[in-house]
């Protein structure tokens, strides 16, 4: 299912985002940055690593750094009984697994529909997001992967 582009102008181009959920909030990552989506994986923890770094996972012989996105974005820890999904993102040749609550559809958003992140948003979230999209019944935050990775993961 694809959300209709909710833009005002029809000339602007459409960008596609992989959506995922953290608690009740939906976020999006540009689809071309996402390599794949994985179910829960065996993760080797790295002692002394920042708290949000869950550890490393082995993806067909490649080392992937798993980040608990909830932890980096200062959300309460996930209920252990809830499932977890991994969005594998490639950035500067390195692989990261974003551990999220759930993964949704790929949505196409008209570039014009992307609005500036509201100033009232928590500082962490504001840094990590490059914009916000108003949808029919909720808001979709677009994650700036680079900025997100630069955040302090010790939260």
């Amino acid at each position: 299912m694809t959300y209709p582009a909710s833009g005002r102008g029809s000339t602007a181009t459409l960008s596609e985002y992989v959506t995922f959920r953290l608690a009740n909030q939906w976020l999006g990552i540009p689809v071309d940055m996402v390599q794949e989506v994985l179910m829960a994986q065996r993760i080797a923890r790295v002692p002394m690593a920042p708290t949000a770094i869950a550890g490393f996972l082995n993806l067909r012989g490649q080392i992937v750094t798993a980040i608990d996105v909830r932890s980096t974005l200062a959300l309460p820890a996930r209920d252990p009984s809830d499932g977890v999904m991994n969005v594998v993102v490639r950035q500067d040749g390195e692989l990261f697994a974003f551990m999220v609550d759930d993964v949704g559809d790929v949505v196409a958003v008209n570039d014009d529909a992307l609005e500036v992140t509201p100033a009232t948003l928590d500082a962490r979230w504001r840094t990590a997001c490059q914009g916000i999209v108003r949808r029919d019944d909720d808001l979709l935050l677009i994650l700036d992967v680079q900025a997100f990775l630069r955040l302090d993961h010790t939260a």
Partner: protein
């Protein structure tokens, strides 16, 4: 791109790389025909192939260069700097044209008339030296082909107007060569070598790495069931994989000389530009290491060589003024050492002025002034590796490029290497780099602690010690730090679970100590279990955890798990037991440092209670062990207490005569040994092990005490272990084999600015049968020698105020009347460079400080031939 063109470009790139060196060689050894012939061949081949490929601009240029070289070859021109510079200029231009060719597949527009004109000047300086241009030659050949009659230039012997110089010696006629040199060369290469793209090799490496992982996995599966029919095939697979891995690793190995090819040219150009005379001597170019590492060290190497040439070596005038030869030397040495490659870059230039660095460090706020004064020279020199610490202007008084040694350090450390710098003002600088052979696959020990598995690189492991419940008592807990009594040393312990803040559910019954060596430091990593050794593929860890010092990387095990590879150096520095403390940490320790004086190093001291008012102290270095004996273990014989210890009887002396040895159920005993004799000193309690300087403030009256010093702000008595050894073995000195003592008692002059060490060593040497005198400074020692004191062996400290050990040795060596004096250096600085410096200063032996037995043995050995003769 045309195959022919690609081959030509590749071949030329290889040849030109060699060319720079050959030309620099030629300049240095004008009479040696080898480099000249090599240069000529290279240019000649390029020229020949150009004709083949229709590259006219390149051909003309190469032709001009070749003509000049030919005159050199025939001896009609002499090698001169300016001539070589012109030839080098043409080589540079050839390289430029080749670069453009590689990108655009066409020669660049433009003319080389400037360079050709410069080369022509040389040609014109020799009468009749002009050779036909390629076009003329080709014309001659084609006319030869058309008009069968023999052209005059081959039929008539004296035809100077046309005949190329040297034509009689070989077939230098360019067009002819063009046709046969090319194919001929190619068959040679094709016979033994194949060009393979680096990308393919890297892919191969990755695949073999994956194969090795699958192999490990299979071994585990097959190992579970010994009856399995898979056991044999898996074993075979294992062997083949191991060999394959080895072979693939070797395809990536290249001689380090490949990273050196540019250096002679760099040095030559810098020397020429600054009017210096510099010889670059390179040793160990054949030392092989991984291509990836070779690439990583190329820039740092060039950088450091440039530093040496630019900032290190002085101008001939300056060198003469300081009594050196006009020409400076930069030595570049590579060799294998264990699983590492050691590269040393040393120059005999002006060295680094430590005081300037110190000032600069204070200016930049890296260290407080009072703390800076207390730092040793070696510690100060480490500031050079600080980011943005430009040494260019202030330190060497030579303006120029920024030095950027911090970049050098970070590049080297990024590949798991380390870099040290040693410099002596006025005498030169040595940089020592230690890098691993390969990054890709290492042999590692898998260990477990608190339920986690880690890999420890085998390279850093010295031995494994298993500690069972019964051996637990060998672990000493002193002031919160753990030590293990390993043979004759106290090994600092680092429990891995504490270091990594792991939660242990239940302490395991037994544990293992992985004894690691980092630089000069040894420590024991305490783990719960030791599993296995394995060849592991090192994978880099991501940028988010890269800052963690504890890890060198990670790997994937046979069953697909990711485990972390520990970095012993990082572990040591986290546990702050590393002797190589960084400049930053030194700065933090300034409060402590402020208490020290500039020339006193701290040492580790064992504090104990002997029932006196003051605490007693003894340097840990002279302590063999700490023991505890039950009261009933003490036996009395011959008016002495003894215990049975390691198969023999060890005398036990009370540290305080008033002590009732057997009054307590068990008594701590400090064991001292001087090699042949071992005694135990019974004490009330072991109190602490502290780092402090030992400065004897006051000589003591009571026998058995060297003096009093302040440790941890309290007056503490430093005991004289030798006194106790003498008390326990009163007749010992009579047994010392001192040769024919009546004829000649060898005399030792002991020089150290620390009275403590004089007090420690002098008695030991005296008991060994030598007569001993002492001096507390280099100047005093020299004065005594000059005053005619007959000295057989002089044992000297290195770091002393005033005349230091090196200078003292040099001063002695310049005085012929002291020729017979044997010199022994004693120091805490015990790296290879230090030893080299010591030897070059004239020391016969270079020994680590604090090892009394070795000192005595060395002095004895040095005198052995003399005594035999007496």
């Amino acid at each position: 791109m045309d195959d022919l063109l690609r081959d030509f470009l590749m071949e030329s790139a290889e040849n030109l790389g060699r060319l720079d060196n050959d030309l620099v060689d030629l300049e240095r050894r004008p009479d040696d025909p080898t480099p000249l012939h090599s240069v000529f061949r290279t240019i000649h081949t390029i020229k020949g192939t150009c004709g083949f490929l229709g590259l006219s601009r390149l051909e003309l240029l190469a032709h001009s260069a070749e003509s000049v070289l030919d005159l050199l070859r025939s001896g009609r021109l002499q090698v001169r700097d300016s001539l070589i510079s012109d030839v080098l200029a043409s080589v540079d231009r050839i390289k430029h044209i080749l670069d453009v060719l590689e990108q655009t597949e066409a020669e660049p527009d433009g003319t080389d008339a400037d360079i050709v004109a410069r080369l022509d000047v040389w040609l014109d300086s020799v009468p009749d030296a002009r050779r036909p241009t390629p076009f003329e030659a080709i014309a001659a050949i084609s006319s030869y082909a058309e008009e069968t009659p023999v052209p005059e230039r081959q039929s008539v012997t004296p035809a100077p107007a046309v005949a190329p110089v040297g034509a009689e010696s070989d077939n230098t006629s360019p067009a002819v060569d063009a046709t046969d040199a090319g194919p001929d060369h190619r068959t040679h290469l094709a016979d033994s070598t194949l060009r393979v793209g680096v990308g393919l090799l890297d892919e191969l490496m990755n695949l073999v790495g994956e194969l090795a992982l699958s192999r490990n996995q299979l071994i585990q599966l097959a190992g579970a069931n010994e009856q399995s029919e898979f056991v044999n095939p898996v074993q075979h697979l294992n062997r083949v994989t191991t060999d394959l891995l080895d072979a693939v690793l070797r395809t990536r190995m290249q001689p380090i000389g490949n990273a050196w090819t540019k250096l002679p040219r760099v040095v030559r150009d810098l020397a020429a530009a600054s009017g210096k005379q510099i010889t670059l001597s390179m040793h160990g170019a054949e030392t092989e290491l991984d291509r990836q590492i070779l690439q990583a060290i190329q820039d740092p190497l060039t950088h450091m060589i440039r530093n040496s040439a630019d900032h290190g070596v002085e101008t001939p005038e300056a060198r003469r003024a300081s009594g050196k030869t006009d020409g400076g030397t930069i030595r570049l040495v590579a060799r294998h050492e264990g699983g590492h490659v050691i590269i040393e870059i040393s120059d005999d230039g002006r060295g680094i002025n430590v005081d300037s660095v110190r000032r600069k460090a204070i200016e930049r706020g890296l260290v407080r002034a009072d703390a800076a004064a207390a730092l040793t020279d070696a510690q100060v020199l480490r500031f050079i590796f600080e980011p943005g610490f430009s040494t260019a202007d202030k330190v060497t008084n030579v303006s120029g490029r920024g030095v950027g040694m911090d970049v050098v350090r970070s590049n080297i450390e990024a590949i798991g290497g380390s870099v040290e710098l040693h410099s002596e003002h006025g005498r030169g600088t040595t940089v020592r780099i230690r890098i691993p052979l390969t990054l890709a696959i290492i042999s590692a020990l898998l260990v477990g602690t608190a339920g986690e598995t880690f890999a420890v690189p085998q390279i850093g492991i010295v031995e494994l010690v298993r500690v069972t419940e019964e051996q637990r008592h060998l672990v000493e807990l002193v002031h919160g730090a753990q030590f293990y009594r390993l043979r004759d040393t106290l090994l600092p312990l680092v429990p891995l679970h504490t270091l990594l803040r792991l939660e242990t559910t239940s302490p395991s019954e037994t544990s293992s100590i992985v004894v690691c060596q980092v630089g000069d430091t040894r420590f024991g990593l305490v783990v719960d279990e030791v599993f296995d050794t394995a060849e592991i593929v090192v994978k880099p860890i991501g940028r988010l955890v890269k800052h963690l010092q504890a890890y060198a990387g990670c790997t994937i095990t046979g069953d697909g798990r990711v485990i972390m590879i520990l970095d012993p150096a990082g572990v040591a520095s986290m546990a702050t037991i590393s002797s190589r403390s960084s400049a930053e940490r030194d700065a933090q320790e300034e409060a402590e440092a402020a208490r020290r004086t500039a020339d006193d190093a701290t040492e580790t001291v064992l504090l104990f209670d002997a029932g006196y008012e003051a605490l007693q102290a003894v340097p840990l270095a002279v302590v063999a062990r700490l023991e505890e004996f039950a009261a009933d273990a003490f036996e009395q014989a011959d008016g002495q207490y003894l215990v049975q210890y390691r198969g023999s009887l060890m005398p036990i002396l009370p540290a305080n005569p008033a002590m009732q040895l057997t009054a307590v159920p068990s008594r701590p005993v400090i064991v001292f040994s001087d090699g042949q004799r071992t005694i135990g000193l019974a004490v009330e309690a072991i109190r602490d092990i502290v780092e402090d300087q030992l400065r004897i403030e006051r000589r003591a009256q009571r026998p058995g005490v060297l003096g009093v010093c302040v440790i941890d702000g309290r007056a503490t008595e430093v005991i004289d272990t030798d006194h106790f050894l003498r008390t326990a073995f009163p007749d010992w000195h009579r047994h010392v084999p001192s040769g024919d003592a009546a004829t000649h008692v060898p005399h030792v002059l002991l020089v150290d600015d620390s009275r403590f060490f004089l007090g420690l060593l002098a008695p030991a040497l005296r008991t060994a049968g030598f007569s001993v005198s002492t001096a507390t400074s280099g100047d005093a020692a020299l004065a005594r020698l000059d005053a005619g004191e007959r000295v057989d062996v002089l044992v000297s400290d290195i770091e002393m105020a005033g005349l230091d050990g090196y200078s003292l040795a040099r001063a002695i060596r310049t005085r012929p009347q002291h020729r017979a004096v044997r010199l022994v250096a004693l120091t805490t600085r015990n790296s290879a460079e230090d030893r080299a410096l010591g030897v070059s200063a004239g020391f016969d032996q270079y020994l680590p400080k604090y090892d009394r037995d070795t000192v005595v043995a060395t002095v004895r050995n040095l005198l052995a031939p003399e005594q035999a003769a007496a």
